[in-house]
Amino acid sequence: MTAIATNITTAKIFLLLNQNEDRGVIDDILAAQNYEYMEASGEADDILTQIHHYMPDIILADSKAPDCELIIKQVKSASKNQNAQIILFLDNETPFDVLNTIEGFVQKPLKTDILLSIINSHLKIKKSLDRLYENNKELSRSLYQLNVLYNTSSQFAGTLNTDKLYEIMIEAMEKTLSFDISSVILFNTAKKPVFKLNTIHTPSENLIDALKIRSILNYQSVCEDRTTLAKQTFEDVEVVKKVKQERSNKVYGLESVSFDSLFAPIKVGDEIYGVVELFRQIPFSSEDVTCFQAIAHQVALPLRSAKLYEEISITNKKLEKLEKLKSEFISIVSHELRTPLTPINNSLDIVLNEDAGKISDDAKNFISMAKRNIQRLSGIIEDLLDLSRIQAGKLDFKYKNVDITSSLELLKNTFTQVASEKNITINLDIKEKLPEIYADTRRIEQIFTNLVSNSLKFTPDNGEINVKANVVNEEDIDFSELISPVAKLQGKYIKISVSDNGIGMKKEDIPKIFDKFSQIESSLNRNKGGVGLGLSITKQLIDSHLGAISVNSKEKAGSTFSVFLPLKDDKKIFEMNLMRDMTNNEDIGIARITHEYDFDLINELKDMKLIKNTPLLKELLIKKDNYTNYIFYIPKISYDSFNALFSAIENYCNQKYENITLIKSHSAKDGDNIKELAENI
């Protein structure tokens, strides 16, 4: 706070006297007290201007002075000099109402001691008033700064962009501190270091360089760990400058560095993001310093968030790119691996079939061995591809009703030949008629192919593999044996168990076998072949079907793998697929329903459970020749999902209504005229 001088000897006194009347007394006082003073001269207007510029503490006015009343009233009504204390010399003729506007008076004839004491007491009043006024001004300024700070903090909270945060900070400082020059250096953000200069007038090139170096040095001085800065050279820092009055002729030269300046680091804890420095020709007050520090402090935390956010987005982008590269890589590799396998396989076939001439039995055996290993190799490639697709969420499932009994019978037949080579028996035990499940046949077969071939691998010669299937309730499932993570199990399941009397495994090894590339090394020494992807894929395929898998195994006694697949709950799986589809597709599914009744079909459809949760269903209604054409379309839906949805709707309509025509199309793309397309289906 600026101290206001209370030494009354510095008082400024304005004299509005009536010619030289009472001059003796006034001169005595002025001589004794060392007051500054000024005497009125000229007309009333001149005098008012003089008062206006002089800004006196006390006006001594003789009521007999020309235009005295007018001048007093004018001084009192102007906002400037409102606090000036007017002491009027009056006699009996002075009009009474003037007394209401002035601060004090003395009766003529004047007496030195009386006048002096009146002047002194009014001087004290004047100084107190000044102080009050100053305080008030500071208070309203603080209030304004507080208000800006408050607004700024909510603005800071609204963005995660470092440039924007910087702009908000500078704007707030400009509003509250009206600086000439602001120089900010931001390091340690995810981007390149940047030096930002905001000025009112154009800065000279020398000044820009000087301020840039000064900023870097300032930053180094606040960083304890200077090694991080070793690499930051002058050239590394990009300069961004903004001049408010570009057209003004005034230029800030190097001398601007000697303006009053404020400086603060922008930091959270030990992390320093940059420094900010302001320059102003008019010196900063202590309130300005507080406000400046508050803004610099406020920007730090959001800057850190922005920095973290930027870092994360950069990492994310890198990861996305990497993920894309990975899937491209796997796709290319698989193509490149499979292509040469083809002529190898073909050549072996030609030799083996003796199409290129007779060969010995031994040769046939070795060629067969080569062929078996080619099949194994291509199996591994297939597994790798599947796994990468599952991880990328790119594996497509074609759900439909699947008869698990016939799938398992087919499986048994496929393996009979291989099993007989090791003299292993495969028994299929299905006692009841199993209901259909809603699943992808190919994937279901893949699950059980993996499980059975796994059992075959670990079952000794002359062993036995039992495949059993039956319906169970959720309460019959032993949760302790399930391999996590497990989806929430609910309702009825088909349980399919594949048991063998093979080597079995230790309890603690069980979860490991579902990890990628894991075969339990100690017990197997990798002599059973395969890269151990099968079970990992199996688990993920089961998860996709909202099922679960459990393992029960005893070392040297054999293992039982049990798969639980939910009984036909097409709604749940359908919805799940639909939701997944909708984010991945750009196609629009369109269908038209034509009938001659007048009912609200779309609302009926919307009440159907199957499409109740299809939020994107849009409808159009066209009436044409007494027929109502309902058109509904669903953006971002895959061919399969739309087909499934459409057949459900078709079923519903055909059961309920006669003479109803359903036509479907799936060819629209974003931006097509749906109505026109649907009418012309």
Partner: protein, 120 residues
Amino acid sequence: MKKILIVDDEKDIVETLSFMLKTKGFECICAYDGEMGLSLAKSEKPDLVILDVMMPKINGYKICRLLKFDNKYKDIPIIMVTARSQDEDKIIGEETGADEYITKPFEFSDVLDKINKYLG
């Protein structure tokens, strides 16, 4: 004798496949890129085409579409050969219009089964 056109930029595949087909009594004509394949398909009017998907210049999908959407050639059965099993939908689906597909590395017996389905 039934005439089969084999289109693949992998010469070894073409050679082994045509050798095997010849032993089964088919006449084989071979093309080593898409352009050649397309022109041979049009000039030679084969009874069946075995077509690789990934080829330089014109890929297999495009040739398949060009043939299947042309009334003069649409009845020629096309077996696509792909190294990616996920291509199934695209190949057999309405978009491409192929009749069959086989995945590399294929078993000759599978190829023969598929050929006999159309030419048997």
